[in-house]
């Protein structure tokens, strides 16, 4: 591990460590037993509340501890002041810094906000700023992205104003910063159809044209990156593209994309002697889409699949299935 001092584990040291660990385990188990007893005897006071703090600091994965903590808070809530709720938020934030991927902490933080004594939208907006900062430090934490969507929905509900435009820009900024941010691409795929439906995009045709340019740009920048390819698969199959462009222009865009992917694949072949599996997979998708649009063309999917079976044996059966489908 980085930044951890190397230690010579002599017999003596090992013995000491075991002894220490034994103590810690006994202490932890004692704490768990004690809390479960208090829970079963329906004890709800500040003292047991503090014990849950102690326990969850040691093990934030212990969801029963979180449940009991919430029970205590609910029972004490008439007496709890603004400061308590703020402390509770600080507690989950401190834990998130050490354990950014523990579901229960995120869950508890959301619950804290929902039950906060301050019912104004202010605390939710503040939370959005916090999660932006968090995502800045760890842009690919899917918990953060999921949590962000919850916050945005809450804020929209409270203000009655859509934040889709801002959120789309946020997602674009993130894919600009890092093409491999799968969460940001996913956010785009979630938002765009919604915005089309709600008529939040003025010039739909231009939007889709620009999106074709954007993804072409992305595959030229990095043809190894699977998040872009996943997004393309989603994008070309979605009804918004034909709705916005109409059949003829869509076919033209698909064929342009196809040519670009072929060029990239050819370039890879020349450079390394190998074809690019992602190019092949998406070329197959593009043929499917065109087939559905009743476009006449000479299909190459079978060649691509034969190539993929050889180059990517781990997914052989999937390719065989595609090869033999009707």
């Amino acid at each position: 591990m980085h930044g951890v001092k190397r230690k010579q584990w002599t017999q003596e040291l090992l013995k000491q460590k075991k002894e220490q660990d034994r103590k810690r385990i006994t202490q932890y188990r004692g704490l768990v037993d004690k809390l479960l007893d208090s829970r079963d005897s329906k004890t709800y006071n500040m003292e047991v509340f503090k014990e849950t703090t102690q326990l969850l600091r040691i093990n934030p994965e212990y969801n029963a501890g979180w449940n009991y903590r919430r029970d205590i808070i609910e029972h004490l809530s008439p007496e709890l002041k603004h400061e308590f709720w703020e402390d509770e938020l600080a507690f989950s934030m401190a834990l998130l810094k050490d354990y950014p991927k523990v579901y229960w902490i995120w869950n508890h933080r959301k619950w804290t906000l929902e039950n906060h004594i301050d019912k104004s939208v202010k605390i939710w907006l503040r939370e959005l700023a916090i999660v932006s900062k968090l995502l800045q430090m760890d842009p690919r934490n899917f918990h953060g992205w999921h949590y962000r969507r919850i916050l945005v929905a809450e804020i929209e509900g409270r203000t009655g104003q859509s934040r889709d435009g801002e959120e789309l820009q946020y997602a674009i900024d993130n894919t600009n910063k890092n093409i491999s941010n799968y969460s940001a691409w996913h956010q785009k795929a979630t938002l765009i159809p919604k915005m089309f439906e709600k008529d939040e995009i003025k010039d739909k045709k231009k939007f889709i044209q620009d999106e074709f340019t954007y993804i072409t740009n992305a595959i030229y920048t990095d043809a190894e990156d699977q998040s872009v390819w996943f997004y393309i698969e989603w994008f070309v199959k979605n009804h918004i593209v034909i709705d916005a462009l109409g059949r003829d222009e869509l076919i033209q865009k698909l064929q342009e994309l196809q040519e670009n992917i072929l060029a990239i694949n050819e370039d890879d072949l020349q450079f390394s002697g190998k074809q690019n599996n992602w190019c092949l997979k998406v070329l197959i998708v593009l043929e499917d889409v065109q087939r559905n649009l009743k476009v006449q063309f000479t299909p190459h999917s079978h060649e691509y699949l034969a190539q993929l079976i050889e180059a990517d044996p781990m997914r052989k059966n999937r390719y065989l299935h595609l090869l033999h489908r009707k």
Binding site: G3, K177, N178, I179, Y220, T221, D222, E224, N260, F271
Partner: protein, 604 residues
């Protein structure tokens, strides 16, 4: 004793550092804040002469290893060939060079100083400036940086980021496109170029493991690989080789150039979105001082104003200028710049580095990234009027670096071009920078309707005349005020692109088949190499390590330090984000100041 005319030292600048641990207190240094010891020790393991970068790191390494070290310098300041000097110290230094005091190390020094500096009523004081003799930048991922952190010397220093690298091409400064984000979002780059550039960047990060790609080009210049294999265009080839790789000419061989390009790319995002750092208040001069301090904490004895007169390898006695002497049990290591009189064993310093250092009365902040105070400008082969064959590199520091006052900047230009044409190349580069700066910052532009653009709120957009925009036809009415211009030629035994060869340190021992040269005052002395023209610190640690191994017998315990404050995060990001935020914005309107005489003083 020291001259009163000097810049504040580290300890004086940071006297109130909150002591997180004993190590973060900046110790005092003999001869600067502390008096020099009255006596010379009777016996030491190693005597080191000269407090340049290599010698100082060596002193620290040996002290912490447990050797007793006596470290002397003939000057009244630390740094020697890596020193950071005030303008008055520069004048003195130029005089010494031209008196032949550093023969074989420096010559041909020419200095112009404006009357605005010093002279009691001048606008600037001599010690407002800290000019490095061998300016350097530090890569975020480099052996020196890890030693700085391991030895805790970084705690004495402050680092700032440098993200702007410009390539001069077609009379234009192009800003570097080197991150995936910049490549992805760049509107001008053709699609296939993006792909080729990204492909190369991915390759170079672990190029050694892909011999099938580069082996056929192992003995050819890198540009062949870039053009034939990666199909890159000239603009990208130049950027990669000269701005990112900081190579010196088109002939740079594939492996060396790949190594250098990777050095930049793997340093990116180590401490933030930049590859390069520099130390505030001065470069190698500041770092040398830091390592001397560390050596002093480790037990080394320091004496300034002390010269080595002679060393006798038979009696192992070293004699000093003040008449004292010391018995040296292991080795005497000396910088060629501080060799004793009648020395005969100095290795030939056959490579020239030509330098031109200017202080300019302009903040130059348009060359810097926002919140920063430094930039590098590279002039690739053939980009200058002089028809340069070798690259000219310019390292620009603004007042945020604390080496010059607000409204001024220091330009360090250097080239590895040998011979007299080097000065022509340096002058041509200076002229190009000057012209560009005038175009970009001229207030005259505001009165020229064809060039002015207005923003949505009616504000004038200076952006339209920023870097990357050429106004060749535009003839400015304004001139740049040079406060100081210093030309000099420096010699080094380290060939361009190389680190010092271990055999270099054998020369003195095997010279004349182990026979001593009669009458020589320096038989048995191990000479360090003079700083090379390399703009980064990369050669330093290798040179020190080789010397260390020669003295100690093995480099196993080289800087094998274990301080108690292990838990403290080494140089955390917030620290110098703060440092960067501390910088005050520099006033742009310097051109309106009363102009000082252009050539005020000239010393030969």
């Amino acid at each position: 004793m020291y001259t009163t005319e000097r810049r504040p030292s580290m300890a004086e600048r940071r006297p109130t550092i909150v002591a997180m641990s004993a190590q973060s207190v900046v110790p005092h240094l003999a001869g600067i804040e502390d008096p020099l010891p009255d006596t010379t020790p009777e016996k030491v393991d190693v005597l080191i002469v000269g407090t340049g970068m290599v010698e100082s790191v060596l002193a620290a390494a040996l002290s912490w290893q447990g050797s007793s070290v006596l470290h002397i310098d003939r000057n009244d300041h630390y740094g020697d060939s890596s020193a950071t000097l005030t303008v008055d110290q520069i004048k003195k230094w130029v005089n010494s060079v031209n008196q032949g005091l550093f023969s074989g190390c420096y010559d041909n020094a020419k200095l112009y100083v404006s009357t605005s500096i010093g002279n009691h009523n001048g606008k600037y004081a001599s010690r407002d400036f800290g000019i490095d003799l061998a300016p350097k930048v530090l890569f975020a991922k480099s052996d020196l940086l890890s030693i700085l952190v391991r030895s805790r010397v970084h705690q004495y220093l402050e680092f700032q980021s440098l993200s702007n690298f410009h390539t001069f091409e077609n009379d234009n400064f192009e800003k570097l496109t080197n991150t995936k984000q910049e490549i992805f979002t760049d509107q001008k780059l053709p699609l296939m170029t993006k792909r080729n550039l990204m492909k190369f960047i991915k390759f170079v990060l672990n190029w050694e493991e892909q011999p099938e790609v580069w082996k056929p080009y192992a003995d050819t210049p890198l540009c062949d690989l870039l053009v034939e294999k990666f199909r890159l265009e000239k603009a990208q080839v130049f950027e990669l080789m000269f701005s990112i790789g900081l190579c010196y000419n088109m002939q740079t061989k594939t492996p060396e150039a790949l190594q250098r390009i990777r050095r930049y790319l793997s340093s990116f995002d180590v401490y933030g979105p930049f590859s390069v750092l520099y130390s505030k208040y001065g470069g190698p001069g500041e770092l040398s001082q830091g390592f001397c301090r560390s050596a002093a904490v480790g037990g080394a004895t320091y004496k300034l104003n002390e010269t080595l007169t002679s060393y006798d390898p038979n009696t192992k006695m070293a004699l000093f200028g003040d008449g004292s002497q010391v018995y040296v049990t292991e080795k005497v290591v000396a910088s060629p710049s501080q060799a004793p009189k009648d020395s005969r064993n100095i290795p030939n310093q056959k490579y020239e580095v030509h330098r031109l250092t200017c202080v300019v009365e302009k903040s130059c902040e348009q060359w810097f990234s926002e919140g920063e105070s430094a930039a590098v400008i590279v002039f690739p082969p053939g980009s200058l009027k002089s028809g340069n064959v070798e690259v000219v590199q310019a390292f620009i520091l603004g007042s945020g670096s604390e080496i010059c006052p607000g409204g001024t900047s220091v330009w360090y230009l250097s080239t590895m071009q040998q011979g007299s044409r080097a000065e022509m190349d340096l002058d041509a580069a200076l002229e190009a920078m000057e012209a560009s700066l005038i175009r970009e910052s001229s207030t005259d532009l505001e009165h020229d309707d064809s060039l002015v653009q207005f923003g949505p709120n009616g504000e004038t957009l200076i952006n339209s005349v920023r870097l990357g925009q050429s106004f060749k036809q535009y003839v400015p009415r304004e001139r740049i005020q040079f406060l100081l211009k210093l030309y000099y030629t420096q010699y080094t035994s380290t060939p361009p692109f190389n680190v010092v060869d271990p055999s270099f340190f054998d020369i003195n021992n095997i010279d004349g088949n182990g026979k001593l040269i009669p009458g020589a005052s320096d038989n048995g002395v191990l000479y360090t190499a003079m700083p090379s023209g390399e703009i980064s610190y990369d050669e330093v640690v290798t040179a020190v390590r080789v010397l260390y191994e020669k003295i100690v017998g093995s480099d196993d315990d080289f800087f094998d330090l274990d301080f108690e404050d292990e838990d403290e995060a080494p140089m955390n990001k917030a620290d110098y984000e703060n440092a960067i935020e501390d910088d005050e914005d520099v006033d742009m309107n310097v051109g309106r100041h009363e102009s000082a005489e252009f050539v005020g003083e000239m010393e030969i």
